[in-house]
Amino acid sequence: MRDLEVAQITDAVKRLCIESNYYLGDDVKKRLQTFLNEEESPTGREVIQKIMENAEIACSEKVPLCQDTGFAVVFVELGQEVHLVGGDFTQAIHEGVRQGYQEGYLRKSIVGDPLERKNTGDNTPAVVYTDIVAGDRIKITVAPKGGGSENMSEVKMMAPAAGIEGVKEFVVDRVRRSGANPCPPVIVGVGIGGTFDKCAQIAKRALLRPVGSRHPNPFYADLENQLLVQINRLGIGPQGFGGRCTALDVLIEVHPCHIASFPVAVNMQCHVARHKVIVL
């Protein structure tokens, strides 16, 4: 067993909250540059340019890319040979979020009760997903998720007979109906299979993959490409002002499912795609 102080987890989560909100990933920047060259709409090009400029400003001034600094979603892969000491594991994560959002001048966007709607004041609690894995390391991913794009997400329990055409129709239609709301250009996370809840979760996990990466299974890699082409024919364009670049990418994850079920989930992500990883 390897002992690990939970205070280290707090420090790591704090840092990742701040860094993910200040620095746009190189994968997204690279893809924006490609679409800037390909966008036919002059307004669309102007928007992409401003988005790229925004990333430069956020980086140099160390301020958040977007005022919606998100719900702190934390994915943990905890090695089964790690022995956590010095406190409560989940509380250590919440404390990291609390410190990160305070010290990083990030907006506190969480209400403690969905109906009462009183702000918790420190952006806690985080949403935490923990997997126990082999080894003696702990991998932490912090992925702050904005509300505008999250609100355009959906899970649909389809009939298995709907097949691949059903998936395509649902995903493309979800993007079409979202219009300008999720701040296009978007990244479309798609979950296929699992249960109702698992499906939504893998759609979110898909968003942790780099833009431009492809599913290891060539069938799904091809589906990612097809969906991207179809979505970029919709004409929504950057910020919905009309144009070619509606999605930067489509990322799919799949999971086995029940003989009666065929869940499909779309988790929409705006161009401010935030996720940072650390291994302790």
Partner: protein, 185 residues
Amino acid sequence: MAEPKKIVTPLSDETVEGLHIGDSVLISGILYTGRDSAHKRLIETLESGKDLPINIQGQIIYYAGPAPAKPGKPIGSIGPTTSYRMDPFAPKLMALGLKGMIGKGNRSREVIASLQQYKAVYFGAIGGAAALMAKSVVRAEIVAYEDLGPEAIRRLEVNDFPAVVVNDCHGRDLYVEGIKRYQLD
């Protein structure tokens, strides 16, 4: 893209009539921030027969809740939030003289009709380009509902704040026409 039009608040009917969908604008003057909770309170105030805490004559409300300001800065990152959540409240405010709204995403039929009826305009700002937009804010102060934190109403003094006309007072809609122009199926 054509040179952006420079406009100054408060907006006159003539200024609003001169704006058309797709126009890129640079706004200077005053913007008031307000989103979900602030709108709810504004309308409750009206319904109880009291005066609004801000004078909205000719003014623009920016649907935004900023990130906290770093020391020495007037405001933190400040981009638009999604506008449809303010749709139930917007026509009442336009009837009282509100001339503009800045946000992102589609408006309801009622809001679009009110833009024509009261000669008002809906601008789209770039969602996510919040650090860039903060740079056009010269001064900011909370003028109502401080307890709402990021949702409090702030009076922003802005210089060349960038936006695009999405719904003009002539009944046109960039979200509809822009997509029609570029869709391939």
